[in-house]
Amino acid sequence: MDLRTTKYPMPVRDPLVRNRDFEEVSLGYDGETARHEAQRCLHCKAHPCVDGCPVSVMIPDFIAKIAEGDFEGAYRIIGESSSLPAVCGRVCPQERQCEKFCVRGVKGEPVGIGRLERFAADYHLSHSEKTDRPVSNGHRVAVVGSGPAGLACAGELAKRGYEVTVFEALHTAGGVLVYGIPEFRLPKEIVRREVEHLLGLGVKIEMDSVIGRLYTVEELKRELGFEAVFLGTGAGLPRFMGIKGENAKGVFSANEYLTRANLMKAYEADSATPIYRGKRVAVVGGGNVAMDAARTAKRLGAEKVFIVYRRSREELPARREEVEHAVEEEIELQLLTNPVEIVTDGDNNVVALECVRMELGEPDESGRRRPVVKEGSEFRIEADCVIMALGTSPNPLIKQTTAGLLTKPRGEIAADENGKTSLEGVFAGGDAVTGSATVILAMGAGKVAARAIDEFIAGKE
């Protein structure tokens, strides 16, 4: 037992060096540090951490394996519940999930569960040998989208012997893991290895394939002979605020800005894709995507980067670690601040963001205190670039092209807790069903749907 009250520190790169390049910020524990951190776990009977995990990873068990030095054993335990541990260890909001409930957190810091998960997964990735390809059961399933939900669903089905084809709209597999989350937070090499692992299991991935256009969902079943289809098409179009100036030059959605940087590698000298390098950048929003956009802007050479968020620091939806890293990297937080207009020059270029200050009033339906405008508090943030990171609304494509597929009032695909949709043999999960959420929830939904698909196909025989 290690009675240290704080987590063993995560080695990170110098903030003022790392905010100029795109290499990973956190370097990960070495074996010795991981074993020490693992010994901080009390192995309490109730293991509340497991209940805090959206996919119920047997956390104390894998931590015990790390403490013993059986790192591969730790990975196997995580792998029973999670499909993408190297990803989740890096991007899960642990402080709101497993670590929130850790008993060690009552007096001091909780066990660094996320860090340990990442360690076990990275160890496995650098030591694992080729996976054996399961024997085919002859049944074919189509997975639409290669983001966290699709990858998890495909992996789970492949392990059960299904012949899985994943259809990806973009030219690279990984969905939000490649177009959204930046290299400095999630190296694309990790995503590539996860994808390779799936290919090793016999999964086929068809890039450049927009389902709804190239083939409809109906055609996947009728013409291509897939017995079931999983829709993991992700979140959709970016939201904007509806304020003046949002279509000015220099205003971007975070999706566009991050796609240019991450998927198209616009920050590299030899990339053919342009990206706007603002000098003073204002990012509107407080989630992980906002932090990612702000930190990307800094790395692209911005002198000043602001996060503009209408509530207080406590309510920021981003992972705590990302907020801390952003602040260390000299991103300025403009909290309790709300934009009212994007100010432009005569040529429709952005010159400033007109804002008002907010104060917190009574709690709203989400339980968070509602921000209200402070009278007479108008002020301007000078900026030549504004990035909107306000979440997304569902992509209409599948809905428009799939007769009989029911959607929720706001347009997300309607699916039950097992991912079943209104159409027989069609399942869905991830952001396409929930709206913008987390990687782990999407991954969990993909896994659950895979089991439901297995039951559905087995039940037909």
Binding site: A169, L170, H171, Y179, M207, D208, S209, V210, R213, L214, Y215, G234, A235, G236, L237, P238, F240, G242, E246, N247, A248, K249, G250, F252, S253, N255, E256, T259, R260, L263, M264, K265, D270, S271, A272, T273, P274, Y276, D347, N348, N395, P396, L397
Partner: protein
């Protein structure tokens, strides 16, 4: 990888290529577009489908050499491959119930206007085409338009056809006869003036927008256009919109967002080829 089956230079700066993509060829309809990447480091560019040949499984696109990407695409020869071709994207042009229409094409936009004229002709409509170019040497696809419509050609400098821009014959047609619809496809400035020209006649006028895009599937939000005061996305809501309701001035500005970058890339690209040539 997608193979180039055919390549033909239509004029000095406009090239037609046919790319092997049987499923896209089977699905693509007039008004839809594809996104392509020439190679692994390339950018994604949207190009409207200029035609398909289902028998040969070919998708035809016509492009003007303007930037680094179109330059490298123009260097591809028959038998060469491009890295990616995605499509068909966007909504097909709505042509149902149209009996009599004018199709207006400007410059390389004629490549996109042609399938609309063809499709209307196939549907039995009375089709008039007004195609405008800078100068005689820039004229493309005239024969193809003549095969499916009555054609008026204009050139800015008067070196071929009627002198002036497309709005002159367009106005003349609208003065003489009644039409169900006008389809405008070309530079934004041309479409803006087509909309202004047709407005007094109250004829349904559709413009095909071709904004900057990245994914083209409804994810990035780059292709937003203001239509009737509302934010629309050309990739999933368009690319066709009611021309009377489009904020063309804003769209013109947005399309110029990366001019400096494009100029630099073009410069670099040209220098690269000069070196290769040595």
């Amino acid at each position: 990888m997608f193979r180039i089956l055919k390549r033909r230079e239509l004029n000095k700066s406009v090239t037609l290529i046919e790319i092997e993509a049987p499923q896209i060829a089977k699905k693509a309809l007039a008004g839809q577009f594809v996104i392509l990447r020439t190679d692994e480091r390339g950018e994604r560019i949207p190009l409207t489908v200029a035609g398909t040949d289902q028998g040969r499984g070919a998708v035809c696109v016509i492009f003007q050499v303007v930037g680094a990407t179109t330059m490298s695409l123009d260097r591809k020869r028959e038998g060469d491959t491009i890295a990616d071709l995605v499509g068909p994207l966007g909504n097909p042009t709505e042509l149902d119930g149209i009996k009599k229409a004018i199709v207006v094409g400007g410059g390389v936009g004629c490549a996109i206007a042609l399938p609309v004229a063809r499709r209307l002709h196939e549907l039995g409509a009375d089709v008039r085409s007004v195609i405008g170019f800078r100068t005689r040497g820039a004229v493309i696809l005239e024969e193809e338009f003549r095969a499916c419509s009555d054609v008026s050609v204009t050139t800015d400098d008067g070196s071929y056809g009627e002198t002036g821009n497309v709005c002159i014959p367009l106005k003349r047609l609208l003065e003489r006869e009644k039409f169900d619809a006008v389809y405008a496809i070309g530079p934004l400035v041309m479409m803006k003036f087509v909309a202004l020209t047709t407005k007094p006649y109250g004829v349904k006028t559709v413009a095909s927008m071709n904004p900057i895009m990245i994914d083209g599937t409804g994810m990035c939000g780059c292709c937003r256009v203001t239509v009737d005061g509302e934010m629309k996305f050309a990739c999933v809501d368009g690319p066709d919109f009611d021309a009377q309701k489009i904020d063309f001035d804003e769209a013109i500005g947005r399309n110029r967002s990366y001019l400096a970058f494009e100029a630099e890339a073009r410069e670099k690209h040209c220098n690269l080829y000069k070196k290769e040539g040595n």
